[in-house]
């Protein structure tokens, strides 16, 4: 049976549900639909249930050393309560996941990971850790997978801060990618200034271990989590807050130009059903890699790739002809296949087809043009700089 979040009972009554990464999640809410949810986040505020995402706590004196070994970025660069974008890699340099590690203390880190990779990371981290401990018995690291213990709600949009500030005394004036712990609607939470839509926003983790049961159907609804969620809906009512689901999460992140694990990047699986794709460099995520680190899993492969140059690269494109690009559609120049679409949609703001594609490097410069083949017909497309929306009017750096 698919897993369920703390908010399942109320959502199942008013949302169309799908199986996502082994969880039964809303894809859209019946009274709104993806487009309305998308526009609410761009123009006001929306709230997402992101509880399916992974939550790992890493503590011990050697936490930083361990994390630096299994990730691509350098946690020593982190200030207290700061997060960085980072990738967990395999030995071939391909992405096992993209994650946000937060430094809660010198010996205490919180990792927010993709839902689809939680079980894999649990196995991988513990495998690497037991290897380290065999080599060095006093290697001081403990890892806890607390994914089921935490609900996560994400409040995104230009009115998100005003909405959320009503519910806490924590002054929400701290920088992007920072986290605080404190009281929110009377509950102890972690709250981070972060998001995945391109808009300003906050993510709030609420712990509720009491309602857990290994059989999702036997779990009691979580009054604690529902209380926090309902309080946010009430606080956001004056801004016409909308409940938003996976459908709009996807259209928003594509419009922002963000990659998603499983569409832009993946690694080979057991049993072998796919080949590695991609390294962080190929996925346009080079900023998550710090090659100055002495050693980390995948470093050799990345150093080699940097020296040799990339053959293919993730680009953002928009269609110049009418159509909707989708995952798997072929990209061609003339008769030559040069890659494929990894993510695509119709931009609700721009009303043109937009997406990401994995293409030969020769066609990865801004302004390059190629054809996306839609049902046999070539549709012209051009590589653009993200985001797809006008940053004066939309996005967290808007000026209008």
């Amino acid at each position: 049976m698919a897993d369920r979040t703390h908010l399942y009972e109320t959502h199942v009554k008013k949302a169309r549900m799908v199986d996502f990464a082994g969880w039964n999640m809303p894809v859209l809410f019946e009274t709104t639909g993806t487009i309305k949810e998308h526009m609410a986040v761009r123009e006001g505020v929306g709230i997402f249930d992101a509880s399916h995402m992974g939550d790992f706590f890493v503590h011990g004196e050697n936490s930083a050393e361990f994390l630096n070994y299994v990730t691509s970025n350098d946690v020593h660069k982190l200030k207290l309560k700061q997060a960085q974008y980072s990738c967990v890699l395999n030995e071939r340099g391909a992405m096992k996941d993209d994650i946000m590690p937060y430094k809660l203390a010198d010996d205490y880190f919180f990792l927010s990971t993709n839902a689809v990779n939680v079980n894999k990371l649990d196995a991988w981290f513990n495998c690497i850790l037991s290897f380290a401990k065999k080599m060095k018995p006093d290697f001081d690291v403990q890892i806890e997978n607390k994914t089921h213990d935490y609900a996560l709600v994400s409040i995104q949009g230009p009115k998100a801060t005003e909405t959320v500030q009503k519910l806490t005394d924590i002054p929400l004036n701290f920088k992007w990618n920072y986290i605080e712990q404190g009281i929110f609607v009377g509950e102890n939470v972690l709250i981070s200034h972060i998001g995945y839509t391109g808009e300003n926003g906050w993510e709030v983790w609420i712990e509720d271990t009491k309602t857990y049961h290994p059989d999702p159907a036997k779990r009691q609804p979580s009054r604690k989590v529902q209380k926090v969620y309902d309080a946010i809906l009430e606080a956001g009512a004056e801004f016409s807050i909308v409940e938003a689901a996976l459908g709009s999460r996807d259209t928003l992140r594509i419009e922002a130009g963000y990659t998603l694990y499983g569409t832009e990047a993946w690694e080979e699986q057991i049993p072998s059903v796919a080949v590695d794709r991609t390294t962080p460099f190929e996925a346009s995520l080079g900023f998550s890699v710090d090659l100055n680190k002495e050693t980390f899993i995948g470093k050799d492969a990345l150093v080699k790739q940097k020296e040799e140059g990339l053959e293919k690269f993730i680009v953002r494109f928009e269609l110049l002809d009418r159509g909707v690009p989708r995952h798997g559609y072929e990209v061609r120049v003339g008769e030559h296949n040069i890659g494929e679409v990894t993510s695509g949609t119709m931009s609700p703001i721009r009303k043109v087809g937009i997406g990401l594609a994995f293409v030969n490097t020769e066609y990865s410069d801004i302004g390059s043009e190629f054809d996306i083949i839609i049902r046999g017909t070539p549709k012209k497309a051009r590589v653009v700089e993200p985001p797809f929306y006008d940053t004066k009017k939309y996005g967290r750096k808007r000026t209008m």
Partner: protein, 138 residues
């Protein structure tokens, strides 16, 4: 008439793929998708319709309707030739959601075999029963 939350417009013929067909006074047939289909698809973001003069065959795909997540074929209720298509759907595909029987009309077909083709379609009453059964199965 209503079947659950769905409006089934009377006086029209229907296919099991949820297209409706309206026979005009000139015997030309206007075609669209019904309230059940538009609600199932949710936000329609793109519609691809055939050019005037295109031949269409009953229950063969003549176009495409795309929602955010899905691509669906449109099936011709009757055989014939496309006499007109709704150019507004280029820029305003959402008209299919807001007015599936009105502003969201898709094509007008000059039928080649009208009487025989209509016999293969469902009346509004019969279609309402069909929808009722579909809803019970879920």
């Amino acid at each position: 008439m209503k079947v659950g939350d769905y409006e089934i417009m009377e006086g029209l013929y229907y296919t099991k793929e949820h297209e409706w067909a309206k026979v005009g006074d000139d015997n030309k047939v206007t075609v669209g998708i019904d309230d059940y289909a538009q609600k199932l698809l949710k936000d329609i973001v793109y519609v691809e319709l055939p050019e005037k003069g295109t031949a269409v065959e009953q229950m063969k795909a003549f176009g495409i309707v795309e929602s955010v997540k899905a691509v669906s074929d449109l099936y011709a209720p009757v055989s014939g030739v496309v006499a007109d298509f709704n150019t507004r759907l280029d820029d305003e595909p959402e008209l299919v959601n807001t007015g599936p029987y009105g502003e969201g009309w898709m094509v007008v077909i000059e039928p080649s075999n009208l009487e025989a083709d209509l016999a293969n379609l469902m009346s509004a009453e019969y279609y309402a029963e069909y929808i009722k059964k579909l809803l019970e199965e879920h």
